[in-house]
Structure formats: structure tokens, C-alpha cells
Symmetry: C2
Subunit: 325 residues, 2 copies
């Protein structure tokens, strides 16, 4: 059993059958980057149709038990997530309603500062704003997991402190292992470890670097070194894999509607396009290599199980909540 | 036990305590007249807060059992409804999501023709439009009751025929008893009777007329004559009572954003303002007079029970559905 803490892009039937072949039973999917409330409802509607049309291979998970059940049935459980808080449109009351519609993971902000928090790409991280504190408390109550992957380190530390429940960094790496604005300081990783939070280690070359994007043993070496910082109960997988992504998708992801100019996101002017996948991760089916890769760098079976799914299941259990309808 | 098929306006704690004193255990509340999706979410959010803040006297009902339970607990069950389909914003996928958020009754259109159907106030009733047919089928599936109170007679007859489940006219009267554009033809009433639908008889003077707005016996006489047309299983109560309504509320209800001019809705240039309540219905507590009023015009206890709550409970049981969350 494996859970991927974050993927994005245009999923189709092929995505699910290949994730299944890759040993993945649960995956947090990205339902939006910049979309407001109505566009987010459209996205959720499209996701419901996609899952209904492929119910033999996929399902939507609202609880950890749904993921376990999907694993037993040989289906892939999609956990609905958003990489930005724009779906709330500044309205505290919308949090519980989106939770009722199945949304379980929301990132406080994406690449830009917003009304909740500062972003990893801003020259200055504002720290957690008033609405951010309100939304975290409401997400705690409504049964949603707070995600700080693209959030600045300062805001992330404040979110960890403000949240009554442990939080996640669903897809990032340790900045001390591969320096990048998107990666997290050791302070953040230690704070996650001390509070029951979890970081999903990414397999996106732009934030993983070429060495850790080599053979599977080298990527698992990065995981082992991340465990040294955050602890064995706080490290998991969050590949950041993008399905069927094309140039317009990258443009939307990076520029949204916020600039007439060019922004490279996690890429750079020198390497602006699609980053090549890690050597070990040419196709989704290659995810089957992870369990053995973890054993090869010295993890016990029990430890490898925590990394591949146990830590996410535990965190989801502490944060998700099935609401009345 | 009594169920009021439709009320509107600004409910507050006083509304619930007085409805309770009036013997009302369930009431369909109007969460919107012209509001789009986001404004409708705002309205639902405000309703949730209102109910949470008054949980000792009120609750939200998603099933008929919730209403029965509320009656036993001495609370008033609010059934969330909209008097227009604008909340869907032309999107079929939003129907099931609003159902999941607790919306149980939606009128196909309000005073103006829309993308679903023709209105009772248009010079020509367009009949049921393509999107209207789609929405009815989706409402059937998602567990929402179709309401045609302000819908034109032609569209209403087509809606009754198109719907796989019985429909409601939550608040109107028989046009043959008091002629008014808002009231329903005998054809519509008979069609309701033949298909398990229900009409909630209104106690709004503009569409009830002065005679049937006299003492309680006269209003119940109207109900008896409506039963003669539609049958004992298809007549109930839908007072159309407005709580804390002021001039700006009437302006929004009648003109919304669709005209720079003046529209009188169910009122008229000759009597444009707030209609005086029926003589028997000066205050909410007066609703206690209904059961005896019904007995006084010849209904048996069993028949009176159908009119005060049994018919609504039966129809809600056939149409409402608790959805997964």
C-alpha cells in the first residue's frame, strides 16, 4: 500500500490504472491552483464525474478508512485537495461547506501571498495573517488538513503553532539537502516532527535536484536524511507528479491571472520548460520501486510502511472528519 | 404537529420561538430569490450560523425523520429552500453539491422566465426549457423537491410530466377560487393530485383575497374547496409568511437586479405595499387555530393531519435523500 501526498494535472482513466499498477492506493489530487469558489465547484463537479465514470478503478476518499477500503478493492482513492485558499473567497463560512463536499486538504497559499499567509516566493514572508488564523481554526473544526507546501517558512512555523491539529507539507523537500525557495528549513521539519506533522518528499526535479533525481536509491537516501531531521513518524511521499500537463497548464499554474509577465515557478529562466522526471520515475508504474528502495537505504519494513502510507493514514485520521449531510 | 411548506424573510430567534408557539415543527425557509451560487453559499452559511446559535429551539432538517425528531424535541426544523434556480448558475453539476449542503427544495424559476422554465408573470409561458428538464432529472436523483409555485401553469404541467418524482407547489392557491396570476389552474391541481404532488395553500392576502383572508373558518373553507379539486392527499399548508420584511426586502424580492423600473410582484399599483395579514393570522402563534379550523369545515382528524403535516412528510419522504459526505 502506498499513498502519494500530492499529485496534480489532468487525471484520466489511464492515470488511475497506472497508479494502481504503481502500487498507489491513495493520492491527494489538486482540484485547483487559483480558482475562486464557483470555479472550484466546477472543478469538484468535474472530479465527481471523472470518478463516477471510472468507479471500477477509482473512488473519492473522505476518511482514512475509505483509502484502506480502496486498497482492498484494488481501486485508487482520490483525496480532494486545493493548492490555494481562493476557493473560500475570503469567507470563513465556506470552509465547512467545502469540507462537506469532500475537500480534505487545502494549502494556505500557493506561489503568491494571499489573505491567509505569505508564500515561499515572496521577497518577504508576511507571516500568518488574521484570516489565515481564522481559516486554520475552521479547518481544524471542519476536518480539513492544512497544507503549507508553497507557504513561506515563517508562515509555516506560525501555522504549525496556530493549528490545534498537526499540519502537512504535502510536497516539498528539505532545503538543507537541496536548497530551493520551495523547500523547507530544518526548523520547519523539526517543528513538524515535534507536533505530529508530516512532510511528503517530492520527486519533482526542480526542487529535488539532479543527484536525488538519480536512481531510486539516491532518492531514498534523501528520504533517509529527511528522516534524520524530522523523525520517522513525520516523513512520507508527495511526488508532485503532474498528469497530462501541457504548456498552457504550466502557464496557468505559474501566472494564473496575476501577471502580464512571465513567472517560472519552481523552474528558472535557464530551464523554463517541463523538468525531466527523476531517472527512477519515468512512468507512474515506477512507483513500485519505492518500498524496496527504502529497504535498500536501511529502513526496516515497519519504517518503510510508515513512509509509504502509515504516516499519511495516521495524520489523515487525526485531521479528516466526516461531516453530516 | 404542523409543517409550513414555505415561509421567507429574515428569521431570528423570535421567529423560531413563535413558530413553536404556533405549533409548527417544520418549515421550508427561503434562502434566496435571485442569488447566484456564491451568494447562495453565503446565505446557507448565514443560515447554518443562525441555527447553530439557536440550536435549543431550531435545527436543519435533511430528512422527514429530522422533522419528526424536531417535533419530539420541541424544536423547529428548517428545511432549506430557494425560490429560484439561480444558485445553479447554469451548471448541472451544482445540483447534487447544493443537495449535499442540505438544500432540499428549489423552485424552477421565480417571477421571471429563466433558463429552466416560464414564470407565472410572463405574458407567455415558454414551457419547460432544456436545462429545466436536465435540472428536474438531477434534482430527482440528488434528492431535492421540485417547486413550481411561481412557475407558469404550462411549465408546471410539463414539469409534473417530466419529473420522475412528484413535485410541489409549496405556496399558492387555486386560481378558480381566487383568480391571480400566481395561483394555479384546476388542470395543475388535478395533475398534482394524480401524481402524488402537493400544493401548500397560501395565507398571503395578495393571492388569497379578502374573503379567504377572513376568520380561520373561511381560510379553511378555501382549503376544503382546494381538496375538492386536488384530493385529500395533495393539499397542505404553505403560508408564504415573511419574517421581518421591510421595503428594501420587497424591492429585492420583486425587482432583484432585473429592472430599473418598478414591479409589484403579487401586489399591484393600487395596493403596492405590504399586504395586511389575514384576519385570522395576525401573528405566528395564530397558526394554532388551523387544526380546529379544519375540523370546523368538516375534515376528520385523519384528514386534518394530512393537511397540517402528513402530506408534506409523505412527499418529502418520496423526494428527499440523504447524500454521502
Amino acid at each position: 500500500m502506498m499513498i502519494d501526498g500530492l499529485q496534480c494535472g489532468h487525471f484520466d482513466r489511464d492515470s488511475f490504472t497506472r497508479l494502481k499498477a504503481g502500487g498507489v492506493s491513495g493520492v491527494v489530487v489538486t482540484c485547483g491552483f487559483w480558482e475562486g469558489a464557483l470555479e472550484s465547484l466546477d472543478s469538484l463537479g468535474a472530479w465527481r464525474d471523472l470518478i463516477r465514470d471510472n468507479a471500477d478503478v477509482a473512488t473519492i476518499a473522505r476518511t482514512p478508512a475509505d483509502i484502506t477500503r480502496a486498497a482492498q478493492e484494488g481501486r485508487v482513492a482520490a483525496i480532494l485537495g486545493f493548492q490555494n485558499a481562493n476557493l473560500f473567497e475570503g469567507r470563513i463560512r465556506l470552509v465547512e461547506m467545502f469540507a462537506e463536499l469532500g475537500v480534505r486538504v487545502v494549502q494556505l497559499t500557493y506561489n503568491n501571498q494571499n489573505d491567509l499567509a505569505g508564500s515561499c516566493y515572496e521577497a518577504e514572508d508576511s507571516g500568518l495573517a488574521r484570516f489565515g488564523r481564522e481559516v486554520i481554526a475552521e479547518m481544524n473544526r471542519a476536518g480539513m488538513l492544512v497544507d503549507c507546501s508553497h507557504v513561506g517558512n515563517r508562515s509555516t512555523l506560525q501555522a504549525i503553532e496556530a493549528s490545534g491539529k498537526p499540519i502537512a507539507v504535502t510536497h516539498a523537500n528539505a532545503d538543507s539537502l537541496f536548497p530551493h525557495k520551495r523547500n523547507k528549513s530544518d526548523d520547519v521539519l523539526r517543528a513538524l516532527g515535534q507536533t505530529g506533522g508530516v512532510i511528503g518528499c517530492a520527486a519533482y526535479r526542480n526542487i529535488t535536484g539532479d543527484y536525488y533525481s538519480g536512481p531510486i536509491g539516491q532518492w531514498c537516501e534523501m528520504i533517509a536524511r529527511t528522516v534524520d531531521i524530522a523523525g520517522i513518524d513525520s516523513v512520507a511521499i508527495g511526488t508532485d507528479r503532474a498528469h497530462n500537463f501541457t504548456a498552457p497548464d504550466y502557464a496557468w499554474m505559474r501566472m494564473g491571472r496575476w501577471t502580464r509577465g512571465v513567472d517560472y515557478g519552481a523552474a528558472s529562466a535557464a530551464r523554463p520548460g517541463k523538468a525531466p522526471p527523476p531517472d527512477w520515475f519515468q512512468k507512474l508504474e515506477d512507483l513500485t520501486a519505492i518500498p524496496n528502495g527504502l529497504r535498500s537505504v536501511g529502513f526496516s519494513q515497519e519504517e518503510a510502511d510508515k513512509i509509504t502510507h502509515g504516516n499519511w493514514l495516521r495524520l489523515y485520521g487525526e485531521t479528516f472528519r466526516k461531516t453530516d449531510s
